[in-house]
Symmetry: C2
Subunit: 100 residues, 2 copies
């Protein structure tokens, strides 16, 4: 049985490849597919955004080459940003429960 970390890593790889397409041997996610991914995988984040251009800004931050596609490494940076923010929120929750 895979460990929690192995399952989490596998899950992130499979989600990326659910939205990725292959061209010239490279697997990447387009802007439109990133929008679909975000709607399905991180709906609460997307709904909380007032800025309709949030996906375009995300792509701009992630897609260094400007080709309109992101690879797995760039996708993982996106997930890292969300995870680090969530972990900070989790820490605050821990500190609150400790004060009680």
């Amino acid at each position: 049985m895979p460990s929690d970390v192995e399952s989490a890593m596998e899950s992130l790889i499979l989600v990326f490849h659910r939205y990725a397409s292959e061209e010239g041997g490279y697997y990447t996610v387009s802007r439109d597919k990133l929008k679909q991914l975000m709607k399905t995988e991180l709906p609460s984040y997307l709904q909380a955004q007032k800025d309709p251009a949030v996906i375009d800004k995300m792509m701009k931050d992630l897609d260094a080459s400007g080709g309109g596609q992101i690879n797995f490494e760039q996708f993982f940076c996106l997930i890292a940003g969300f995870s680090i923010s969530c972990e900070k929120a989790y820490q605050m929750k821990l500190k609150k429960t400790k004060k009680k």
Copy 2:
């Protein structure tokens, strides 16, 4: 129900905190706890390593301050490295199955 990405992020946060201890309001994982984490969460990687100092080298790479502790962001960099290698292996597997 959480999405696959939400579950994976939550899982990585909970695993980190399973091994982390709190000091001065900061949650970090020590070298010894990192070794335990690796043994439980990524056993096949650890067993494949010939170098007994692999954990010390990992700490050196991750622990920029040299305080012998890693925070969640540094832990996430470790997971990123493994995930990116695994995804490359996954891509090769996909390409092989396509050639058949």
